[in-house]
Point group: C2
């Protein structure tokens, strides 16, 4: 069963700088995490409930199973990606672990 | 480009009743929405930031493009699904429109 990490980012002060760092620096680090099956980046366009959307960007990191996910989280590559998150998105990010189904 | 609707539910008072209604009544209504490519239901297991997770369940409804999404939202099937949401998850749900990439 797919295990997913949802990384949910609230709106940054400088959207362009955030997106540049996200795509040019952060995502390449994430892609090195062992066992990662797929990364999907979703830009939030609209809150159907009205008002401002609570998130600006939601990334999904897909792993094939719990053991692969656990090993991925414990890897040096994941520590590097996590350290990078704290350099550009501290206070903006929420990370949730989910299982599909 | 895939257009996604994220339906994000906070924790209900009665989890078992919520999940029964969700899977037995709500999801079958959602699956009737024209143009829907895929529905993915994610159960949130853990907040990696510590503390309680802000959501209990996150569903993703995938549509192949904006025109299909717009037609889906305007359909009677979607109105029926929306009416059903309000019957079991009013005050629990946030719906965000996103584009991948």
């Amino acid at each position: 069963m797919t295990v997913k990490l949802f990384a949910m980012y609230t709106k940054p002060a400088d959207e362009a700088a955030f997106l540049a760092h996200y795509h040019e620096t952060h995502l390449p680090l994430v892609m090195k995490v062992p066992g990662l099956e797929k990364a999907v980046v979703n830009r939030i366009e609209k809150n159907l409930m009205g008002g401002e959307a609570p998130y600006f960007l939601i990334a999904e990191l897909h792993f094939p199973d719990q053991a692969t996910f656990d090993a991925a989280m414990a890897s040096p590559e994941n520590r590097a990606a996590g350290k990078d998150v704290m350099s550009f998105a501290k206070g903006l990010v929420t990370m949730l672990v989910a299982s599909e189904g």
